[in-house]
Amino acid sequence: MSDKHSIPGPLANEGLPLAERGLFCDAPPRQYQRANKITEAFWNWARAQSLWILGFGTGCGAIELRPLMTSRFDMYRYGIQPRPTPRQSSVFVIGGYASVKTLKRIVRSYEQMMGPKFVVALGSCTINGGMYWDSYNTIKRIDQYIPVDVYIAGCMPRPEALLAGFQELKRIIRAGRGEGQNEYARKFEWYKANQKQVIKDWNMPDYNW
C-alpha cells in the first residue's frame, strides 16, 4: 500500500472535488516485491490454489459463470469461488464486451483488488471488439485499459472453456508469470491515458487502492 504522505504523482485525483481528494491515496501503484525464490514458489502455488473471482458480471459472459458456480460444473472443487467485493478477490473475469460506463467500474474494481491479482478476459469482444466492433459505446480491446493474463475464445465461452482458462491461469501463476499487476504499475500512465481517452467524464480517483 502506498504511503498517503508521499508526494503526489502527476495524476493527483484531479477528477475529484477538492474535499474528496484526501479520501484516496495519491501515489501510483508499485510493483510487487518478490520474496526469495523458494518462498515465492510456495506462494505462487498457494495463490494458484485459491482463485477468488470478483462477482461482477460485466457482460454476457456472466451467464456462464452461473453453471460454473453450481453443482454441475462446481468450480469450488478447483479452488475457485466468487467473492462479493474487490478487496476479497484475486481474479477479475471480464465477461465480454465492456461499455464505457462499465469500463469505469471495471477500472475502479480492478484497482481496488488486492494484489497479486489476475484478469481473465472472455470472448471475442475483449480481444478485438467482437460483434460490437462498430458500436459507439463499447471498447474493442480490454488490454488497453487493464492488463489481461488469460484470454478464452468463444462467444460465449462455455463453462468447460472457462475451467480450461482457469487451469491455464493456475499454470501461469504457478510459473510466476502472472505479471499483470506489475505491468499495470510499470505502464500506469499509459493505462491511465487510455482510460481517460474513452472515459470522458473522469470523475473518479486516479489512485484507488
Binding site: F56, T58, P84, S99, T102, D134, S135, T138
Partner: protein, 387 residues
C-alpha cells in the same frame, strides 16, 4: 393478512427526500453486487434499514443494438438480435424473424412453426429455472440454484444438440429454422422434461413450503391490479395480479393456438405469488413441450426460400411483433424503408418497465435486505432494458 406489509399507494410523482437533513443515507447497490441480476445499479436512499427512495441506473450493458442494426443487412442482424436478452435469446430471434417475414410476405413452413414453438417454450423453461435459483438465493436459500441451474443446463444441452449453441442459439432464422431435429432428440427432450419435473417437485416442497421464504416473500412488492395498465406491466407480474393476459393466447402466434393451455392467474401480485405463478408456468411449459413433441410434424421443409441475403431488400412498411417471454411482452418494432437495411428496429423488453419505473416505485418502504429479493421477483434482465 400478512401481506399488508406494502400498503397500497397510488402511483404519483416522487418527492425527493431532503438529503441534507441528516436523516438519510445514500447507498448504491450494484453494479457490482451479488444481489443484482445482471449489471445494473440502484441508488437507494435509506432511513434506518428501510428504503425511502430508489433510483435505477442502467446502461452498463448498453451496446447500441438499435443503432448497430441500422448499419447491418437484414440477415446480418440475425446473429445480433439474440444478444439483446442473454438468458432468453430465442425471443429476439423469433420476433425479428417474424417481423421480417411479415414485411416481406414470406410464408413459414409448418414444420418451422412447430420447431420455433418448441424452441421458445424450452427457453422459457430454461429462463425460469435460472430465475428461480436467483429468487431463492436472494432470500438466502442457496440450495435451489444448485438444482435449478443444473436443470437449466440440461435444457441447454438440448439446445446445444438442436441448434449447435448453448447460450446463443441462432436457430430461428428469417424464413424458418436452421435445421431439423436430430435423431432421437425428441426422446431426449421427454427424458429431460421428466428430470426437470421431478426436480421442480422438490423445489416446490423446499421453497414454497418454507417458512422463511414465505415470511420474506409474502407481501413484498405488492402490485395492485390497477397498476398493471398504469405501469405497462405484463407477463407473470400482471397475471399474478389476477389479469389473464398471456400473449400466447391473446395473439395466438406460432403453434400456440393448436396447443391446449390456459393462462395461469394469481390473486395478489406479491413476490411470493409471482414466484409461485412462475413455478406453475414451468410445469405448464413442460406440459406444452410434451404436447409439441407429440404434434411435431415428422416431415416437411423447415425453411422457406429467401432471396440472396447479401442484397435482400424488404418492402417499405412497419410492424410490431410481440411474444410472451418469461417476463411478459417481448416485442420488436421493425420499420423498413424498402432498403437492404432496417430503417429502425426498436426492442420492447418487459424488464424496461418492470426494472426501472416499477422497481423505483416498489422499492419504497422495503427493507434493504429485501431489495434484491424484490428485484428478482420482478424478473428483470438488464441487457434488454438498455439494449
Amino acid at each position: 393478512m400478512s401481506r399488508a406489509k406494502a400498503p397500497y399507494i397510488a402511483p404519483a410523482e416522487r418527492a425527493a427526500p431532503d438529503l441534507d437533513s441528516g436523516k438519510y443515507l445514500v447507498m448504491w447497490q450494484g453494479p457490482n453486487h451479488p444481489g443484482i441480476t445482471g449489471n445494473m445499479s440502484l441508488r437507494l436512499v435509506i432511513e434506518g434499514d428501510s428504503v425511502v427512495d430508489c433510483e435505477t441506473h442502467v446502461g452498463y450493458l448498453h451496446r447500441g443494438f438499435e443503432k448497430l442494426m441500422e448499419r447491418r443487412l437484414w440477415m446480418q442482424n440475425f446473429p445480433l438480435v439474440c444478444r439483446i436478452a442473454v438468458p432468453e435469446p430465442d425471443f429476439n430471434e423469433y420476433c425479428y424473424a417474424a417481423a421480417l417475414e411479415e414485411l416481406a410476405g414470406i410464408e413459414v413452413p409448418d414444420k418451422a412453426v412447430w420447431l420455433r414453438t418448441l424452441s421458445l417454450e424450452m427457453i422459457r423453461l430454461a429462463s425460469f429455472l435460472m430465475w428461480i435459483g436467483g429468487q431463492a438465493g436472494a432470500f438466502g436459500h442457496g440450495t435451489i440454484a444448485q438444482w435449478s441451474v443444473t436443470m437449466r443446463d440440461y435444457v441447454l444441452d438440448l439446445f446445444e444438440e438442436l441448434t449447435g449453441g448453448r447460450i446463443y442459439h441462432m436457430y430461428i432464422i428469417p424464413g424458418g429454422v436452421r435445421g431439423d431435429v436430430p435423431a432421437g432428440f425428441l426422446r431426449r427432450v421427454l427424458e429431460t422434461m421428466d428430470t426437470v419435473r421431478k426436480n421442480l417437485d422438490d423445489i416446490e416442497l423446499v421453497m414454497f413450503h418454507n417458512v422463511v421464504y414465505k415470511m420474506r416473500a409474502q407481501g413484498l412488492g405488492y402490485i395492485p391490479p390497477d397498476w398493471v395498465d398504469q405501469y405497462g406491466i405484463t407477463g407473470p407480474n400482471a397475471r399474478a395480479a389476477g389479469l389473464p393476459r398471456d400473449l400466447r393466447k391473446d395473439l395466438g402466434y406460432l403453434a400456440y393456438p393448436r396447443l391446449s393451455f390456459e393462462p395461469i392467474v394469481g390473486t395478489v401480485s406479491d413476490a411470493f405469488e409471482r414466484s409461485r405463478l412462475r413455478l406453475l408456468e414451468m410445469y405448464q411449459s413442460i406440459d406444452l413441450i410434451r404436447q409439441i413433441v407429440d404434434m411435431l410434424p415428422a416431415r416437411g421443409a423447415f425453411r422457406a426460400k429467401l432471396p440472396n441475403p447479401l442484397h435482400w431488400k424488404i418492402p417499405a412498411g412497419e410492424t410490431y411483433v410481440a411474444a410472451e417471454c418469461t417476463r411478459g411482452e417481448y416485442g420488436f418494432y421493425v420499420v423498413s424503408d424498402g432498403g437492404d437495411k432496417p430503417r429502425r428496429v426498436a426492442v420492447r423488453g418487459p424488464s424496461y418497465t418492470h426494472g426501472v419505473a416499477l422497481m423505483e416505485r416498489l422499492a419504497r418502504g422495503v427493507n434493504i435486505a429485501d431489495v434484491a429479493g424484490l428485484m428478482v421477483s420482478l424478473h428483470t434482465y438488464p441487457p434488454e432494458i438498455e439494449r
